[in-house]
């Protein structure tokens, strides 16, 4: 490669720098081109090539931490009002299906089973993850607003379905309640956020590019 570079230097037309100095510079450039890139150069090149993705991740992490802090500050409000709304919605659905469930504040109970809705059961943390992903994605404000307006009630609805299903599992299959609560529904909640985000990103954001 160094030899080829020398030939190119010799054959370069209209070169202002000629003679020994020019050739020495060509040789030096060729030798430098032959040296493997340093770690710093490789890192710089990686950052340059992936700067958009890196920015997305940094914004996402910032939003996650910020929303988590906001939720912590407002946790009492969430524990009372949002949990109560979730409990009422789930109680309504249970009664629609014929289960005589009563709701008292954040507690849903029937004759044989009861559960209390706390902040972790309201879906606000999954909403925070979804909202962070929407805010981090590089698109217009209007598209972000559509994402937030679409995703928040969808996640609330999925959470109500979760609460109702856990109530029935606790009522009829109590042995599976732990697995359903701490394994399957934890996975399904975050999966629903991922799928909603993918749907939003492809349906509402990329349409403009096409």
């Amino acid at each position: 490669m160094a030899r080829k570079k020398r030939q190119e230097c010799h054959e370069a037309p209209h070169s202002k720098r000629r003679g020994f100095t020019h050739n020495k510079r060509c040789v030096k450039d060729a030798e430098q081109a032959q040296q493997p890139p340093t770690t710093v150069e490789r890192l710089r090149s990686f950052i340059r090539r992936n700067r958009v993705v890196i920015r997305v991740y940094l914004v996402f992490l910032f939003c996650i931490v910020s929303l988590f802090a906001v939720i912590l500050v407002a946790v009492d409000t969430i524990n009372t009002s949002v949990a109560a709304v979730t409990a009422r919605a789930a109680g309504l659905v249970l009664n629609l299906f014929g289960t005589r469930a009563k709701v008292s504040d954040t507690i849903i109970y029937s004759q044989d089973f009861g559960m209390r809705i706390i902040a972790q059961c309201t879906g606000v943390f999954t909403m925070a993850i979804f909202l962070s992903a929407v805010l981090a994605y590089p698109c217009r404000l209007k598209e972000k607003a559509i994402g937030m307006a679409m995703g928040t009630p969808a996640i609330f609805l999925i959470n109500v379905i979760r609460v109702v299903s856990l109530f029935y599992i606790g009522l009829y299959f109590p042995d599976f309640l732990d697995a359903a609560h701490y394994v399957f529904w934890q996975c399904l909640m975050i999966l629903s956020a991922v799928v909603l985000w993918l749907f939003w990103a492809e349906k509402f954001v990329n349409v403009l590019e096409h």
């Binding site: 991740y57 972790q120 701490y182 394994v183 934890q186 993918l198 749907f199 492809e202 990329n206």
Partner: protein, 190 residues
Amino acid sequence: MSLNTKLLVFITKILVLLVLIYPLWLAFTPLYNSFVAKVSNSFVSVTERASGIALRPEAHFIWIDESGTGPEAAMQGIDVNRVYFNLILLVALFLATPNLGLQRRLKLLFAGVAILFITHVVSVVVIAKYMYLSSLSKHHDIQGRILEQARRFLITMGFQLFPVLIWAMLTLKYWSFRAEENEDCQKNNT
């Protein structure tokens, strides 16, 4: 294939995989738990004084023992099912991602599991140290407060978020939704 169909296929695959992987995960967890506890112990012993804590794995629990005392003196334990459950989700995500090819899929899965393992070690160390400080009523100092917030973050968001973040980081450039649509556009244009 339309976007809705692709997403439906993706969700269905993951649901089926979650059900299939769960019994394997139950069988595998005690062995994995021992390994995590061993690695976590080295970090705990580095950051605690000589009369600190030791982690003892037992099936699906990690007991927090005070160093120098026997198993009967175990104070508290961590139910590791609530920590390691995200391993199932991570594996399901990698197996369900379309257009990866077997070799690449396995390589990325291995890398993903390795990164998630690190998060499990960190989680166990954070939770164990917080529980230990709480038992000594020392959780109101700076270290205790930081550990408390870290523990809360892990329980409410972290355990769900890590597998998705790792999966997204490792497979982003292979996501097929855009690639296949672009191919369709080119075919229609020609």
